[in-house]
Protein backbone atom coordinates (compact mmCIF):
# COMPACT_ATOMS: atom_id res chain seq x y z
CA UNK A 1 0.00 0.00 0.00
CA UNK A 2 1.34 3.42 -0.91
CA UNK A 3 1.52 5.88 1.95
CA UNK A 4 0.95 9.59 1.59
CA UNK A 5 3.75 11.33 3.51
CA UNK A 6 2.95 14.94 2.67
CA UNK A 7 -0.44 16.31 1.90
CA UNK A 8 -1.01 19.88 0.83
CA UNK A 9 -4.63 20.99 0.97
CA UNK A 10 -6.04 24.08 -0.78
CA UNK A 11 -2.82 26.05 -0.49
CA UNK A 12 -3.13 29.73 -1.35
CA UNK A 13 -0.09 32.02 -1.26
CA UNK A 14 -0.30 35.73 -1.86
CA UNK A 15 2.53 38.17 -2.21
CA UNK A 16 1.90 41.90 -2.53
CA UNK A 17 -1.72 41.20 -3.37
CA UNK A 18 -0.77 38.84 -6.18
CA UNK A 19 -1.78 35.21 -5.95
CA UNK A 20 1.31 33.02 -6.36
CA UNK A 21 -0.49 29.78 -5.57
CA UNK A 22 -4.16 29.43 -6.39
CA UNK A 23 -5.69 26.71 -4.27
CA UNK A 24 -3.23 23.86 -4.75
CA UNK A 25 -3.82 20.38 -3.36
CA UNK A 26 -1.11 17.78 -3.70
CA UNK A 27 -0.37 14.37 -2.17
CA UNK A 28 3.24 13.18 -2.05
CA UNK A 29 3.66 9.40 -1.88
CA UNK A 30 6.32 8.12 0.52
CA UNK A 31 9.67 7.05 -1.00
CA UNK A 32 8.81 8.47 -4.42
CA UNK A 33 10.82 10.82 -6.57
CA UNK A 34 8.33 13.64 -7.21
CA UNK A 35 9.14 16.52 -9.53
CA UNK A 36 7.41 19.89 -9.57
CA UNK A 37 7.78 21.05 -13.16
CA UNK A 38 6.82 24.32 -14.76
CA UNK A 39 8.04 27.56 -16.27
CA UNK A 40 9.47 30.26 -14.01
CA UNK A 41 6.81 31.98 -11.95
CA UNK A 42 4.49 28.97 -11.96
CA UNK A 43 4.71 28.56 -8.16
CA UNK A 44 6.80 25.41 -8.01
CA UNK A 45 9.50 26.90 -5.76
CA UNK A 46 6.85 28.49 -3.56
CA UNK A 47 5.23 25.07 -3.14
CA UNK A 48 8.59 23.66 -2.07
CA UNK A 49 9.15 26.54 0.35
CA UNK A 50 5.78 25.88 1.99
CA UNK A 51 6.83 22.30 2.65
CA UNK A 52 10.23 23.46 3.94
CA UNK A 53 8.60 26.05 6.18
CA UNK A 54 10.02 29.13 4.47
CA UNK A 55 6.82 30.44 2.88
CA UNK A 56 3.51 31.13 4.57
CA UNK A 57 0.13 30.22 3.19
CA UNK A 58 -2.67 32.79 3.19
CA UNK A 59 -4.94 29.78 3.59
CA UNK A 60 -4.63 26.03 3.32
CA UNK A 61 -3.28 23.12 5.34
CA UNK A 62 -0.10 21.06 5.25
CA UNK A 63 -0.03 17.55 6.69
CA UNK A 64 3.07 15.47 7.35
CA UNK A 65 2.21 11.84 8.08
CA UNK A 66 -1.28 13.03 8.95
CA UNK A 67 -0.13 15.73 11.39
CA UNK A 68 -0.81 19.36 10.52
CA UNK A 69 2.57 21.10 10.45
CA UNK A 70 1.39 24.37 8.92
CA UNK A 71 2.66 26.41 11.88
CA UNK A 72 5.79 24.39 12.64
CA UNK A 73 9.01 26.43 12.15
CA UNK A 74 11.57 25.07 9.64
CA UNK A 75 14.04 23.84 12.28
CA UNK A 76 11.44 21.47 13.73
CA UNK A 77 10.42 19.82 10.45
CA UNK A 78 11.64 16.40 9.39
CA UNK A 79 12.59 17.63 5.96
CA UNK A 80 15.87 18.99 4.67
CA UNK A 81 16.53 21.20 1.69
CA UNK A 82 19.16 21.37 -1.03
CA UNK A 83 19.15 25.02 -2.06
CA UNK A 84 19.49 26.38 -5.56
CA UNK A 85 22.72 28.23 -4.82
CA UNK A 86 24.03 25.48 -2.50
CA UNK A 87 23.99 27.88 0.50
CA UNK A 88 26.99 26.23 2.17
CA UNK A 89 28.44 27.92 5.26
CA UNK A 90 31.49 29.85 4.01
CA UNK A 91 33.08 30.06 7.48
CA UNK A 92 33.10 26.27 8.00
CA UNK A 93 35.13 23.59 6.27
CA UNK A 94 33.48 20.69 4.48
CA UNK A 95 33.46 18.40 7.51
CA UNK A 96 31.82 21.05 9.69
CA UNK A 97 29.34 21.94 6.97
CA UNK A 98 28.09 18.36 6.81
CA UNK A 99 28.25 17.95 10.59
CA UNK A 100 26.20 21.13 11.18
CA UNK A 101 22.85 19.42 11.62
CA UNK A 102 24.34 16.53 13.63
CA UNK A 103 25.95 18.91 16.12
CA UNK A 104 22.56 20.47 16.76
CA UNK A 105 21.27 17.01 17.58
CA UNK A 106 24.19 16.75 20.02
CA UNK A 107 25.43 13.43 18.65
CA UNK A 108 28.65 11.92 19.94
CA UNK A 109 31.74 12.99 18.00
CA UNK A 110 32.44 9.37 16.95
CA UNK A 111 28.94 9.07 15.50
CA UNK A 112 29.30 12.41 13.72
CA UNK A 113 32.62 11.34 12.19
CA UNK A 114 31.12 8.05 11.05
CA UNK A 115 28.08 9.63 9.43
CA UNK A 116 30.00 12.45 7.76
CA UNK A 117 32.36 9.81 6.37
CA UNK A 118 29.43 7.80 5.01
CA UNK A 119 28.00 10.87 3.33
CA UNK A 120 31.29 11.88 1.74
CA UNK A 121 31.47 8.36 0.35
CA UNK A 122 27.89 8.57 -0.92
CA UNK A 123 28.61 11.77 -2.84
CA UNK A 124 32.06 10.60 -3.89
CA UNK A 125 34.02 13.26 -2.05
CA UNK A 126 36.20 11.23 0.33
CA UNK A 127 39.27 13.04 1.60
CA UNK A 128 37.83 16.53 1.25
CA UNK A 129 37.01 16.95 4.98
CA UNK A 130 39.44 19.75 5.73
CA UNK A 131 38.99 21.68 2.49
CA UNK A 132 37.33 25.07 2.47
CA UNK A 133 34.11 25.67 0.58
CA UNK A 134 35.66 28.23 -1.72
CA UNK A 135 38.17 25.71 -3.06
CA UNK A 136 35.39 23.58 -4.59
CA UNK A 137 33.84 23.66 -8.06
CA UNK A 138 30.09 24.17 -8.48
CA UNK A 139 29.48 20.45 -8.93
CA UNK A 140 31.48 19.60 -5.82
CA UNK A 141 29.69 22.25 -3.79
CA UNK A 142 26.40 20.76 -4.89
CA UNK A 143 27.52 17.31 -3.71
CA UNK A 144 28.42 18.75 -0.31
CA UNK A 145 25.06 20.51 -0.13
CA UNK A 146 23.34 17.17 -0.82
CA UNK A 147 25.50 15.42 1.78
CA UNK A 148 24.79 18.13 4.35
CA UNK A 149 21.05 17.63 3.91
CA UNK A 150 21.04 13.81 3.69
CA UNK A 151 23.29 13.28 6.71
CA UNK A 152 20.32 14.20 8.92
CA UNK A 153 18.39 11.25 7.47
CA UNK A 154 15.32 13.32 6.63
CA UNK A 155 12.05 11.66 5.73
CA UNK A 156 11.78 14.00 2.78
CA UNK A 157 14.49 15.81 0.85
CA UNK A 158 13.53 19.02 -0.93
CA UNK A 159 15.64 20.03 -3.92
CA UNK A 160 15.23 23.47 -5.48
CA UNK A 161 16.67 23.36 -9.03
CA UNK A 162 19.88 21.88 -7.58
CA UNK A 163 21.52 21.24 -10.94
CA UNK A 164 20.60 24.54 -12.57
CA UNK A 165 24.08 26.04 -12.34
CA UNK A 166 25.94 23.00 -13.68
CA UNK A 167 27.00 22.35 -17.25
CA UNK A 168 25.07 19.85 -19.35
CA UNK A 169 27.39 16.86 -18.99
CA UNK A 170 27.76 17.25 -15.23
CA UNK A 171 24.02 17.76 -14.95
CA UNK A 172 23.31 14.43 -16.67
CA UNK A 173 25.76 12.64 -14.37
CA UNK A 174 24.22 14.20 -11.29
CA UNK A 175 20.71 13.30 -12.45
CA UNK A 176 21.67 9.65 -12.49
CA UNK A 177 23.48 9.92 -9.16
CA UNK A 178 20.55 11.66 -7.48
CA UNK A 179 18.17 9.00 -8.71
CA UNK A 180 20.51 6.28 -7.41
CA UNK A 181 20.77 7.97 -4.00
CA UNK A 182 17.00 8.31 -3.79
CA UNK A 183 16.52 4.63 -4.53
CA UNK A 184 19.33 3.42 -2.25
CA UNK A 185 18.31 5.57 0.72
CA UNK A 186 14.55 5.09 0.17
CA UNK A 187 13.82 8.74 0.92
CA UNK A 188 11.08 10.84 -0.65
CA UNK A 189 12.59 13.43 -2.98
CA UNK A 190 10.63 16.51 -3.99
CA UNK A 191 12.49 18.06 -6.85
CA UNK A 192 11.81 21.45 -8.47
CA UNK A 193 12.90 22.05 -12.04
CA UNK A 194 11.91 23.87 -15.20
CA UNK A 195 13.76 21.30 -17.32
CA UNK A 196 11.18 18.86 -18.71
CA UNK A 197 13.83 16.34 -19.75
CA UNK A 198 15.22 16.28 -16.22
CA UNK A 199 11.72 15.72 -14.88
CA UNK A 200 11.02 12.83 -17.26
CA UNK A 201 14.40 11.20 -16.59
CA UNK A 202 14.30 11.06 -12.81
CA UNK A 203 10.75 11.13 -11.56
CA UNK A 204 8.24 8.58 -10.38
CA UNK A 205 5.61 11.30 -10.43
CA UNK A 206 5.63 14.60 -12.29
CA UNK A 207 3.51 17.54 -11.18
CA UNK A 208 3.16 20.06 -14.01
CA UNK A 209 2.37 23.58 -12.82
CA UNK A 210 1.46 26.85 -14.49
CA UNK A 211 0.34 30.22 -13.11
CA UNK A 212 0.04 28.92 -9.55
CA UNK A 213 -2.12 25.96 -10.52
CA UNK A 214 -1.47 22.26 -11.04
CA UNK A 215 -2.06 21.28 -14.66
CA UNK A 216 -1.46 17.56 -14.42
CA UNK A 217 -0.09 14.95 -12.03
CA UNK A 218 1.11 11.62 -13.38
CA UNK A 219 3.97 9.33 -14.27
CA UNK A 220 6.45 10.65 -16.85
CA UNK A 221 4.83 8.33 -19.41
CA UNK A 222 1.32 9.64 -18.63
CA UNK A 223 2.46 13.22 -18.84
CA UNK A 224 4.23 12.68 -22.12
CA UNK A 225 1.76 10.39 -23.86
CA UNK A 226 -1.51 11.65 -22.44
CA UNK A 227 -1.07 15.35 -21.72
CA UNK A 228 -4.24 16.71 -20.18
CA UNK A 229 -4.22 20.03 -21.97
CA UNK A 230 -2.40 21.97 -24.64
CA UNK A 231 -0.08 23.66 -22.14
CA UNK A 232 1.22 20.36 -20.76
CA UNK A 233 1.61 18.98 -24.27
CA UNK A 234 3.57 22.01 -25.36
CA UNK A 235 5.69 22.22 -22.23
CA UNK A 236 6.61 18.53 -22.18
CA UNK A 237 8.46 18.27 -25.43
CA UNK A 238 7.48 19.97 -28.64
CA UNK A 239 3.98 19.60 -29.98
CA UNK A 240 1.80 20.64 -32.84
CA UNK A 241 -1.34 22.16 -31.37
CA UNK A 242 -4.09 22.72 -33.95
CA UNK A 243 -7.63 24.01 -33.67
CA UNK A 244 -10.13 21.28 -34.38
CA UNK A 245 -13.78 20.36 -34.01
CA UNK A 246 -14.94 17.12 -32.39
CA UNK A 247 -17.90 16.11 -34.50
CA UNK A 248 -18.75 13.01 -32.51
CA UNK A 249 -16.99 10.27 -30.51
CA UNK A 250 -13.87 9.02 -32.33
CA UNK A 251 -14.19 11.58 -35.15
CA UNK A 252 -12.34 14.89 -35.24
CA UNK A 253 -11.97 17.46 -37.96
CA UNK A 254 -8.78 19.50 -38.34
CA UNK A 255 -6.70 20.83 -41.24
CA UNK A 256 -9.84 20.65 -43.38
CA UNK A 257 -10.22 16.87 -43.08
CA UNK A 258 -11.94 14.36 -40.83
CA UNK A 259 -9.72 11.99 -38.85
CA UNK A 260 -10.51 8.91 -36.86
CA UNK A 261 -9.22 9.21 -33.31
CA UNK A 262 -9.46 7.30 -30.01
CA UNK A 263 -11.02 10.03 -27.85
CA UNK A 264 -14.63 10.36 -26.84
CA UNK A 265 -16.88 12.11 -24.39
CA UNK A 266 -16.94 15.56 -25.95
CA UNK A 267 -19.97 17.68 -26.78
CA UNK A 268 -21.14 17.26 -30.39
CA UNK A 269 -19.18 19.69 -32.61
CA UNK A 270 -17.16 20.96 -29.62
CA UNK A 271 -14.14 23.11 -30.57
CA UNK A 272 -11.02 21.33 -29.30
CA UNK A 273 -7.22 21.50 -29.29
CA UNK A 274 -5.66 18.71 -31.32
CA UNK A 275 -2.14 17.81 -30.15
CA UNK A 276 0.22 15.76 -32.30
CA UNK A 277 3.84 15.07 -31.37
CA UNK A 278 6.40 15.95 -34.08
CA UNK A 279 7.79 12.40 -34.05
CA UNK A 280 4.30 10.89 -34.58
CA UNK A 281 3.85 12.43 -38.01
CA UNK A 282 4.82 10.10 -40.88
CA UNK A 283 6.25 11.69 -43.98
CA UNK A 284 4.86 10.07 -47.17
CA UNK A 285 4.60 11.03 -50.79
CA UNK A 286 2.17 13.75 -51.74
CA UNK A 287 -0.54 11.43 -53.10
CA UNK A 288 -0.58 9.21 -50.02
CA UNK A 289 -0.72 12.00 -47.44
CA UNK A 290 -3.84 13.01 -45.54
CA UNK A 291 -2.36 16.47 -45.22
CA UNK A 292 -0.16 18.03 -47.90
CA UNK A 293 2.36 20.77 -47.23
CA UNK A 294 5.53 22.50 -48.38
CA UNK A 295 8.82 21.99 -46.52
CA UNK A 296 9.94 25.44 -45.36
CA UNK A 297 13.19 24.56 -43.62
CA UNK A 298 15.02 21.60 -42.24
CA UNK A 299 17.52 21.34 -39.38
CA UNK A 300 19.77 18.37 -38.60
CA UNK A 301 19.42 17.49 -34.88
CA UNK A 302 21.68 14.46 -34.65
CA UNK A 303 19.22 11.61 -34.16
CA UNK A 304 16.69 13.07 -36.58
CA UNK A 305 15.89 15.97 -38.85
CA UNK A 306 13.44 18.62 -37.71
CA UNK A 307 11.31 20.16 -40.46
CA UNK A 308 8.87 23.01 -40.54
CA UNK A 309 6.11 22.25 -43.02
CA UNK A 310 3.52 24.79 -44.14
CA UNK A 311 0.08 23.24 -44.72
CA UNK A 312 -3.02 25.43 -45.05
CA UNK A 313 -1.25 28.27 -43.27
CA UNK A 314 -0.34 26.23 -40.19
CA UNK A 315 3.35 25.49 -39.51
CA UNK A 316 3.79 21.84 -38.62
CA UNK A 317 6.88 20.66 -36.77
CA UNK A 318 7.89 17.20 -37.91
CA UNK A 319 10.74 14.99 -36.78
CA UNK A 320 11.91 12.44 -39.30
CA UNK A 321 15.00 10.32 -39.85
CA UNK A 322 14.93 11.04 -43.55
CA UNK A 323 15.81 14.39 -45.11
CA UNK A 324 13.56 16.29 -47.53
CA UNK A 325 14.39 19.12 -49.94
CA UNK A 326 13.36 22.59 -48.83
CA UNK A 327 10.49 23.66 -51.08
CA UNK A 328 9.37 20.14 -51.89
CA UNK A 329 5.76 19.13 -51.42
CA UNK A 330 5.21 16.21 -49.03
CA UNK A 331 2.32 14.28 -47.56
CA UNK A 332 1.79 13.72 -43.85
CA UNK A 333 -0.07 10.92 -42.10
CA UNK A 334 -0.90 10.32 -38.46
CA UNK A 335 -2.41 7.24 -36.84
CA UNK A 336 -5.55 7.54 -34.64
CA UNK A 337 -3.58 6.65 -31.46
CA UNK A 338 -1.25 9.62 -31.99
CA UNK A 339 -4.02 12.19 -32.22
CA UNK A 340 -4.63 13.67 -28.77
CA UNK A 341 -7.82 15.65 -28.31
CA UNK A 342 -8.04 18.24 -25.54
CA UNK A 343 -10.68 20.58 -24.27
CA UNK A 344 -9.86 24.16 -25.12
CA UNK A 345 -8.11 25.64 -22.09
CA UNK A 346 -10.51 28.11 -20.57
CA UNK A 347 -9.44 31.71 -20.59
CA UNK A 348 -8.93 32.93 -17.03
Amino acid sequence: MENTIISLRNAVVEYDGEKILKNISLDIIDKQFVTLLGPSGCGKTTTLRIIGGFAEMASGELFFNGVNIKNLPPHKRQVNTVFQKYALFPHLNIYENIAFGLRIKKLHEDEIRKRVGEMLELVNMQGYEKRSINSLSGGQQQRIAIARALVNRPKVLLLDEPLGALDLKLRKEMQIELKRMQQDLEITFIYVTHDQEEALTMSDTVVVMKDGMIQQIGTPQDIYNEPKNAFVADFIGESNIIDGVMHKDFLVEFAGKNFVCVDKGFEPDEPVDVVIRPEDIKVVTQDKGAIVGVVENIVFKGVHYEMTVDALGYKWIIQSTQSEEVGSVIGMNVTPEDIHIMHKSEAE
Partner: protein, 269 residues
Protein backbone atom coordinates in the same frame (compact mmCIF):
# COMPACT_ATOMS: atom_id res chain seq x y z
CA UNK B 1 53.24 50.10 -14.19
CA UNK B 2 54.76 53.58 -14.07
CA UNK B 3 51.53 55.56 -14.21
CA UNK B 4 49.74 53.92 -11.25
CA UNK B 5 52.78 54.57 -9.09
CA UNK B 6 52.80 58.20 -10.12
CA UNK B 7 49.14 58.48 -9.14
CA UNK B 8 50.04 57.56 -5.57
CA UNK B 9 52.45 60.50 -5.18
CA UNK B 10 49.86 63.08 -4.03
CA UNK B 11 48.70 60.75 -1.29
CA UNK B 12 52.29 59.97 -0.29
CA UNK B 13 53.02 63.70 -0.02
CA UNK B 14 49.87 64.14 2.03
CA UNK B 15 50.81 61.35 4.40
CA UNK B 16 54.33 62.68 4.87
CA UNK B 17 53.21 66.26 5.58
CA UNK B 18 50.21 65.50 7.75
CA UNK B 19 51.02 62.17 9.38
CA UNK B 20 54.71 61.34 9.36
CA UNK B 21 56.01 64.82 10.18
CA UNK B 22 53.48 65.52 12.98
CA UNK B 23 54.12 62.10 14.44
CA UNK B 24 57.84 62.88 14.43
CA UNK B 25 57.09 66.18 16.16
CA UNK B 26 55.00 64.44 18.82
CA UNK B 27 57.79 61.96 19.47
CA UNK B 28 60.29 64.82 19.50
CA UNK B 29 58.28 66.84 22.02
CA UNK B 30 57.63 63.81 24.18
CA UNK B 31 61.32 63.00 24.45
CA UNK B 32 62.57 66.52 25.28
CA UNK B 33 62.20 69.08 28.04
CA UNK B 34 61.43 72.79 27.47
CA UNK B 35 65.17 73.46 27.04
CA UNK B 36 65.35 70.95 24.20
CA UNK B 37 67.34 68.33 26.10
CA UNK B 38 66.56 64.64 25.63
CA UNK B 39 64.67 63.20 28.59
CA UNK B 40 62.22 60.44 29.57
CA UNK B 41 60.76 62.51 32.42
CA UNK B 42 57.62 63.27 30.40
CA UNK B 43 56.90 59.60 29.95
CA UNK B 44 57.46 58.85 33.63
CA UNK B 45 55.23 61.79 34.57
CA UNK B 46 52.39 59.75 33.06
CA UNK B 47 52.28 57.70 36.26
CA UNK B 48 50.41 60.59 37.93
CA UNK B 49 47.62 60.16 35.42
CA UNK B 50 47.28 56.38 35.41
CA UNK B 51 43.81 56.50 37.02
CA UNK B 52 42.57 58.86 34.28
CA UNK B 53 44.08 56.65 31.61
CA UNK B 54 42.49 53.60 33.17
CA UNK B 55 39.11 55.36 33.33
CA UNK B 56 39.38 56.39 29.68
CA UNK B 57 40.03 52.82 28.58
CA UNK B 58 37.30 51.44 30.83
CA UNK B 59 34.68 53.94 29.59
CA UNK B 60 35.68 53.29 25.98
CA UNK B 61 35.36 49.52 26.46
CA UNK B 62 31.95 49.89 28.13
CA UNK B 63 30.75 52.22 25.36
CA UNK B 64 32.06 49.84 22.68
CA UNK B 65 30.33 46.83 24.24
CA UNK B 66 27.02 48.72 24.56
CA UNK B 67 27.34 49.88 20.94
CA UNK B 68 27.94 46.30 19.80
CA UNK B 69 24.95 44.98 21.75
CA UNK B 70 22.69 47.70 20.33
CA UNK B 71 24.11 47.64 16.81
CA UNK B 72 24.15 43.89 16.16
CA UNK B 73 20.38 43.32 16.12
CA UNK B 74 19.77 46.73 14.51
CA UNK B 75 22.21 46.03 11.69
CA UNK B 76 20.76 42.56 11.20
CA UNK B 77 17.19 43.86 10.97
CA UNK B 78 18.26 46.54 8.47
CA UNK B 79 20.18 44.01 6.38
CA UNK B 80 17.10 41.74 6.10
CA UNK B 81 14.70 44.56 5.14
CA UNK B 82 13.52 45.27 1.62
CA UNK B 83 15.87 47.35 -0.54
CA UNK B 84 13.79 50.51 -0.07
CA UNK B 85 13.56 50.11 3.70
CA UNK B 86 17.29 49.47 3.87
CA UNK B 87 18.21 52.75 2.23
CA UNK B 88 15.59 54.64 4.29
CA UNK B 89 16.88 53.20 7.56
CA UNK B 90 20.51 53.87 6.65
CA UNK B 91 19.70 57.50 5.77
CA UNK B 92 17.82 57.88 9.08
CA UNK B 93 20.89 56.52 10.81
CA UNK B 94 23.14 59.03 9.05
CA UNK B 95 20.97 62.13 9.46
CA UNK B 96 22.16 62.89 13.03
CA UNK B 97 25.75 62.62 11.79
CA UNK B 98 25.15 65.52 9.44
CA UNK B 99 24.49 67.75 12.44
CA UNK B 100 27.48 69.25 14.16
CA UNK B 101 28.98 66.99 16.82
CA UNK B 102 29.15 69.80 19.41
CA UNK B 103 25.57 70.77 18.79
CA UNK B 104 24.40 67.20 19.29
CA UNK B 105 26.26 66.95 22.57
CA UNK B 106 24.82 70.30 23.70
CA UNK B 107 21.40 68.89 22.94
CA UNK B 108 22.06 66.07 25.37
CA UNK B 109 23.02 68.65 28.04
CA UNK B 110 19.65 70.37 27.71
CA UNK B 111 17.94 66.98 27.88
CA UNK B 112 19.81 65.70 30.92
CA UNK B 113 20.14 68.84 33.08
CA UNK B 114 18.46 68.88 36.53
CA UNK B 115 15.84 71.23 35.06
CA UNK B 116 16.21 69.79 31.57
CA UNK B 117 13.58 68.29 29.34
CA UNK B 118 13.68 64.73 30.71
CA UNK B 119 13.43 65.81 34.35
CA UNK B 120 10.60 68.23 33.49
CA UNK B 121 8.65 65.46 31.78
CA UNK B 122 9.28 63.12 34.71
CA UNK B 123 8.19 65.93 37.04
CA UNK B 124 4.80 66.02 35.31
CA UNK B 125 4.13 62.50 36.54
CA UNK B 126 5.57 63.27 39.95
CA UNK B 127 9.02 61.74 39.56
CA UNK B 128 12.49 63.16 40.01
CA UNK B 129 14.31 65.33 39.48
CA UNK B 130 17.09 62.85 38.94
CA UNK B 131 20.79 63.52 38.65
CA UNK B 132 21.25 62.58 35.02
CA UNK B 133 24.24 64.65 34.01
CA UNK B 134 27.81 65.19 35.24
CA UNK B 135 28.37 61.54 36.02
CA UNK B 136 30.10 58.63 34.34
CA UNK B 137 26.83 57.30 32.93
CA UNK B 138 26.23 60.52 31.01
CA UNK B 139 29.74 60.37 29.51
CA UNK B 140 29.22 56.78 28.36
CA UNK B 141 25.78 57.70 27.03
CA UNK B 142 27.40 60.48 25.01
CA UNK B 143 29.95 58.08 23.57
CA UNK B 144 27.32 55.48 22.66
CA UNK B 145 25.05 58.09 21.11
CA UNK B 146 27.78 59.70 19.03
CA UNK B 147 29.61 56.58 17.87
CA UNK B 148 26.78 54.03 17.49
CA UNK B 149 26.50 54.64 13.70
CA UNK B 150 30.18 53.72 13.36
CA UNK B 151 29.28 50.29 14.74
CA UNK B 152 26.05 49.81 12.79
CA UNK B 153 27.43 50.76 9.37
CA UNK B 154 30.30 48.24 9.12
CA UNK B 155 28.10 45.52 10.65
CA UNK B 156 25.33 46.29 8.17
CA UNK B 157 27.68 46.27 5.18
CA UNK B 158 28.94 42.80 6.13
CA UNK B 159 25.54 41.38 7.08
CA UNK B 160 23.83 42.55 3.91
CA UNK B 161 26.17 40.23 2.00
CA UNK B 162 25.07 37.14 3.94
CA UNK B 163 22.93 35.15 1.52
CA UNK B 164 19.38 34.64 2.79
CA UNK B 165 19.57 31.01 1.66
CA UNK B 166 22.55 30.43 4.02
CA UNK B 167 20.33 31.60 6.89
CA UNK B 168 17.51 29.38 5.66
CA UNK B 169 19.92 26.45 5.35
CA UNK B 170 20.86 26.84 9.02
CA UNK B 171 17.18 26.82 10.02
CA UNK B 172 16.53 23.91 7.70
CA UNK B 173 19.28 21.92 9.44
CA UNK B 174 17.66 22.49 12.81
CA UNK B 175 19.02 25.78 14.14
CA UNK B 176 16.72 27.75 16.38
CA UNK B 177 17.17 31.53 16.45
CA UNK B 178 19.82 31.56 19.17
CA UNK B 179 21.91 28.94 17.44
CA UNK B 180 21.48 30.64 14.07
CA UNK B 181 22.96 33.85 15.51
CA UNK B 182 25.74 32.11 17.43
CA UNK B 183 26.88 29.64 14.78
CA UNK B 184 26.20 31.43 11.50
CA UNK B 185 25.39 35.15 11.65
CA UNK B 186 27.92 36.06 14.33
CA UNK B 187 30.93 34.33 12.74
CA UNK B 188 30.01 35.61 9.30
CA UNK B 189 29.75 39.15 10.72
CA UNK B 190 33.21 39.01 12.31
CA UNK B 191 34.90 41.40 9.84
CA UNK B 192 32.21 44.02 10.50
CA UNK B 193 32.45 43.49 14.25
CA UNK B 194 36.20 44.11 14.35
CA UNK B 195 35.93 47.19 12.12
CA UNK B 196 33.07 48.52 14.25
CA UNK B 197 34.94 47.93 17.51
CA UNK B 198 37.93 49.90 16.28
CA UNK B 199 35.69 52.64 14.86
CA UNK B 200 33.97 53.10 18.24
CA UNK B 201 36.79 52.36 20.67
CA UNK B 202 39.43 54.67 19.18
CA UNK B 203 37.40 57.91 19.18
CA UNK B 204 35.86 57.00 22.56
CA UNK B 205 39.16 56.46 24.30
CA UNK B 206 40.56 59.79 23.10
CA UNK B 207 37.48 62.04 23.32
CA UNK B 208 37.53 65.17 25.44
CA UNK B 209 34.41 67.05 24.31
CA UNK B 210 31.95 64.45 25.53
CA UNK B 211 33.56 64.07 28.95
CA UNK B 212 33.85 67.82 29.40
CA UNK B 213 30.27 68.59 28.45
CA UNK B 214 28.50 65.63 30.03
CA UNK B 215 31.00 64.65 32.74
CA UNK B 216 30.90 67.92 34.68
CA UNK B 217 34.64 68.10 35.38
CA UNK B 218 34.63 65.09 37.68
CA UNK B 219 34.96 62.51 34.94
CA UNK B 220 37.95 63.83 33.01
CA UNK B 221 39.39 61.43 30.49
CA UNK B 222 42.90 61.25 29.15
CA UNK B 223 41.78 63.36 26.19
CA UNK B 224 40.88 66.22 28.53
CA UNK B 225 44.25 66.06 30.27
CA UNK B 226 46.08 66.05 26.93
CA UNK B 227 43.99 68.97 25.67
CA UNK B 228 44.85 70.98 28.83
CA UNK B 229 48.54 70.57 28.14
CA UNK B 230 48.11 72.44 24.87
CA UNK B 231 45.44 75.07 25.54
CA UNK B 232 44.77 75.19 29.26
CA UNK B 233 46.48 76.87 32.20
CA UNK B 234 48.89 73.98 32.65
CA UNK B 235 50.47 74.57 29.25
CA UNK B 236 53.07 71.82 28.71
CA UNK B 237 53.22 70.44 25.12
CA UNK B 238 56.06 68.09 26.15
CA UNK B 239 53.91 66.27 28.70
CA UNK B 240 50.91 66.44 26.34
CA UNK B 241 52.90 64.81 23.54
CA UNK B 242 54.13 62.10 25.86
CA UNK B 243 50.55 61.34 26.92
CA UNK B 244 49.36 61.25 23.31
CA UNK B 245 52.21 58.93 22.43
CA UNK B 246 51.53 56.54 25.30
CA UNK B 247 47.81 56.51 24.50
CA UNK B 248 48.56 55.76 20.85
CA UNK B 249 50.86 52.88 21.77
CA UNK B 250 48.29 51.42 24.17
CA UNK B 251 45.54 51.65 21.52
CA UNK B 252 47.78 50.05 18.90
CA UNK B 253 48.68 47.28 21.31
CA UNK B 254 45.05 46.59 22.19
CA UNK B 255 44.00 46.60 18.55
CA UNK B 256 46.71 44.15 17.50
CA UNK B 257 45.82 41.91 20.42
CA UNK B 258 42.17 42.06 19.42
CA UNK B 259 42.88 41.45 15.76
CA UNK B 260 44.84 38.36 16.65
CA UNK B 261 41.84 36.93 18.49
CA UNK B 262 39.43 38.20 15.88
CA UNK B 263 41.13 36.36 13.06
CA UNK B 264 40.64 33.02 14.76
CA UNK B 265 37.35 31.27 14.19
CA UNK B 266 34.61 30.92 16.78
CA UNK B 267 36.12 33.37 19.23
CA UNK B 268 33.48 35.07 21.29
CA UNK B 269 34.50 38.43 22.69
Amino acid sequence: MKTPRALAIPYAVWVVIFTVVPLGLVIGFAMTDPDGKLTLDNIFAMSDYMSVLFRSILFAIIATVICLILAFPAAYIISRSSAINQSTLIVLLMVPMWINFLLRTYAWMTLLEPNGLINKLLGLIGLGPYNLINNSGAVILGMVYNYLPFMILPLYSVMVKIDQSVIEAAQDLGSNKARLVRKVIFPLSMPGISTGIIAVFVPSVSTFIISRMLGGGTNDLIGDIIEMQFSGNSYNPHLGSAMALVLMIIVLFMMSLFNQFGSEEDVVL
